[in-house]
């Protein structure tokens, strides 16, 4: 008999070693998240996936599922926190969705839509961040980085290269690359690397491919991020 946890009154089975997030996604239960990707070790930094487990708020992507856990996720209080966190991500960077080539394929934008974000709410920081297009095939646009470290993990764990890393602390955190010049073009990054494919926003882009997919055929044009990430959809 499989073990179960309860998420929003739904019994969700899990296997030993799975996190609450793993169990939820496997059961088709969506918990909003940005820094989590099932292909990589949990990171627990974006805090969007925070759930209430037996009265305590914890990151569902890092907390192992344990028999009998009572998990609250889709509740007003937590969704309000998720919305506020998402709004903060928008104002801390320069996310100009109307002109961004990742529009329609962007997980940050899709989460914002899912959470019903109608405006950034907070004052924009308008930080000065540079785009690095020195690489022949890949562009790094730091304006759109949300510091999920998926590229850092992909480069280290899959590509074996350590191209990306975070530098600085707090609001001065910056995505940096591993080259003496500090330029992407001087790293050993290849366009086929996993690190290039994994960015949830438009921070790492394959050059000269922008807008090739017409409106109406992009990932989130017709279905929500919940359906994409839980395998739901039209039914």
């Amino acid at each position: 008999m499989s073990k179960t946890i309860t998420i929003d009154e739904l019994a969700v089975p899990f296997k030993e070693g799975q996190t609450i997030m793993d169990a939820a996604l496997a059961a088709g239960v969506y918990i909003p998240h940005l820094c989590h990707n099932p292909e990589f070790k949990p990171h627990g930094s974006c805090k969007l996936c925070t759930v209430n487990v037996n009265g305590r708020n914890v990151a569902s992507c890092t907390l192992p599922a344990v028999e009998g856990q009572q998990v609250l996720s889709d509740i007003e209080e937590l969704n309000a926190d998720r919305l506020a966190l998402t709004q903060m991500l928008f104002v801390e960077g320069n996310h100009l969705c109307p002109a961004c080539e990742k529009t329609g394929n962007c997980q940050l934008q899709a989460v914002a839509y899912y959470l019903g974000m109608m405006s950034p709410h907070y004052n924009h920081f308008y930080p000065q961040r540079e785009a690095d297009a020195s690489h022949h095939d890949v562009m790094l646009d730091r304006n759109r980085c949300i510091y999920c470290e998926l590229c850092v993990r992909a480069s280290r764990e899959v590509d074996g290269k350590n191209v990306f890393g975070l530098s600085g602390r707090g609001i001065k955190t910056l995505l940096v690359v591993n080259s003496a010049s500090g330029l992407l073009g001087d790293t050993d990054l290849a366009v086929t690397d996993k690190a290039v494919q994994v960015c949830p926003t438009g921070a790492i882009l394959i050059k000269r491919h922008g807008y090739a997919v017409p409106i109406g055929q992009r990932v989130f044009d017709h279905i929500t991020i919940k359906d994409v990430q839980t395998g739901g959809g039209d039914e």
Binding site: A131, G210, Y211, P214
Partner: protein, 493 residues
């Protein structure tokens, strides 16, 4: 070709009258008049009060992003900026467009010009033309038109809707789509989409013919008045096809002087800088372009529908060509210089667009799948297109990293800057000079500006809801007369 009334010789002590904002135009502008104690006009200026800065803030962005960013200059004719920038990027990626890509872009552009011309004529200009320039301000708007002329209003709305549907099916969205990309387009038309457009095109052509008849009837009904309203002579500039035909998407630059003599012809637009320069004046955010060989004082010119219809040798669609011939005959065979003839020329173009759309929809290339081409990359690209309001120039330089390092945009309304100022001055002299100011008289100035359909680089406007306040201040700074139009259209003294 004078600059009379641009700057008063002795502005001290003159009364300043301001029309701000100018309503029923795209964007924000104002007019200032300097009058003496007898209300004689000493200075008249048309100002653009907004500053956009697109040329600066796209620096550092990748070239493939630019066609999508710069179309945000406008919500009425974003397709023009999208295509102007895309044409420049075609040069940068070294692309020769496939037939499918070029025809889809042409279709998108025709839809765009059709909807923009419909918007301008029916929504913005027709209230003046149908009710009179100094008619009751409360109904001098599209709502008033809908009440008094429901069929006319419905046709205007439907034509605009059809044009926007053409844009949606070729670019993904009615406003700010992504259809044109460097080297081509990102989608073709499906058979279902093509058939949906074909279903209504005959009606659009019929209504466009009605529109030409309507403006012809209005214009010729008071021919002397309309001919003389804000009249002045100028040069004209537009793109023409290799054979001299009207072509809104591509061609060489042609300029003719106020006598119809050719200044330059079939000029490769990538060398536009050899032929056009821009002057900066301290009192306006908008530059003043002029034809280099003629100099600043003699070289300013008009662009847009009137320039295109005057400049082209023929229109390559039959119904519009017949109307062009009528238009030309009305002008005595030479270029028509009248400010209000813009409206007539604009409706001839709208008919051409409807015919052109029909012709393209029967072309199977629209269903093709060969959408993008690439060649040898260049570091400089120039794209020129005939936007609804006139010649639109996009010029970019990129660096080796493929980021924009320099941009120069000369938009249609900028070309017309001096001409709009001249129209304002002529109307001020004709109708306001020495008169007691009324809302109706001031509207005459706006009528002249509206004829150009100026797009003041802003997508936000509210038809009939823009408050207008005019103050007459005496030499001592005391307000002696005030008129205010509220957002509900009522006027208070």
């Amino acid at each position: 070709m004078t600059f009379e009334l641009e700057t008063a010789a002795n502005p001290e002590g003159l009364k300043r009258v301001v029309i701000e904002p100018v309503s029923r135009v795209e964007g924000h502008g104002k007019v200032t008049l300097l009058l003496d104690d007898d209300n004689r006009v000493h200075q008249a200026r048309f100002h653009i009060v907004e500053f956009r800065g697109f040329e600066k803030f796209i620096q550092g962005r990748p070239y493939w992003e630019v066609p999508v960013i710069v179309q945000r200059l406008c919500g009425i004719c974003p397709v023009s900026h999208n295509l102007g920038a895309a044409k420049a990027m075609d040069m940068i990626v070294g692309a020769q467009l496939t037939p499918t890509a070029e025809k889809l872009r042409r279709l998108m552009h025709l839809g765009q010009v059709l909807q923009s011309h419909a918007l301008h004529f029916y929504y913005l200009a027709s209230p003046d033309l149908l009710f009179g320039f100094d008619s009751d301000v409360a109904r001098r708007n599209i709502v008033g038109v809908a009440a008094a002329y429901p069929d006319v209003a419905r046709q205007g709305v439907s034509l605009r809707k059809y044009g926007q549907e053409v844009i949606r099916l070729t670019s993904g969205k009615r406003i700010h789509g992504t259809g044109a990309i460097p080297g081509g387009v990102n989608k073709n038309l499906s058979m279902e989409e093509r058939d949906a457009l074909l279903k209504d095109i005959d009606q659009m052509i019929a209504w466009s013919r009605d529109a030409v008849e309507l403006i012809k009837k209005i214009y010729c009904g008071q021919a002397d008045f309309h001919n003389g309203f804000g009249y002045f002579k100028s040069c004209f500039m537009s793109l023409v096809r290799d054979d001299g035909a009207l072509d809104l998407y591509h061609g060489g630059l042609r300029a003719r002087d106020e006598h119809g003599q050719t200044i330059f012809d079939h000029v490769d637009y990538s060398s536009y800088w050899d032929y056009i320069h821009e002057e900066v004046k301290s009192w306006s955010y908008m530059k003043f372009p002029f034809i280099r060989s003629r100099g600043r004082e003699e070289g300013w010119y008009r662009v847009g529908p009137l320039a295109r219809i005057n400049n082209c040798d023929f229109i390559p669609t039959p119904l519009a060509e017949t109307e062009r011939m009528t238009f030309k005959a009305f002008g005595g065979g030479s270029a028509t210089q009248s400010t209000l003839a813009y409206h007539w020329a604009r409706m001839i173009e709208m008919l051409h667009c409807a015919e052109g759309i029909q012709e393209l929809l029967h072309d199977s290339d629209l269903l093709g799948t060969d959408l993008v081409n690439r060649g040898e990359r260049a570091l400089r690209g120039v794209g020129v297109i005939e936007a609804p309001r006139g010649t639109l120039i996009h010029h970019y330089r990129i660096n080796e990293d493929e980021l924009i390092v320099r941009a120069n945009l000369i938009v249609s309304t900028t070309h017309n800057n001096q001409a709009m100022n001249e129209a304002v001055r002529q109307v001020a002299l004709q109708y306001l000079d020495g008169q007691q100011l009324t809302e109706g008289l001031l509207n005459h100035i706006e009528v002249a500006i509206r004829a150009f359909d100026p797009c003041l680089s802003c997508a936000t406007h509210a038809v009939g809801k823009m408050p207008l306040e005019v103050e007459l201040v005496d030499a001592g700074g005391k307000v002696i007369d005030r008129l205010r139009k509220n957002s509900d259209g009522r006027c208070d003294a």
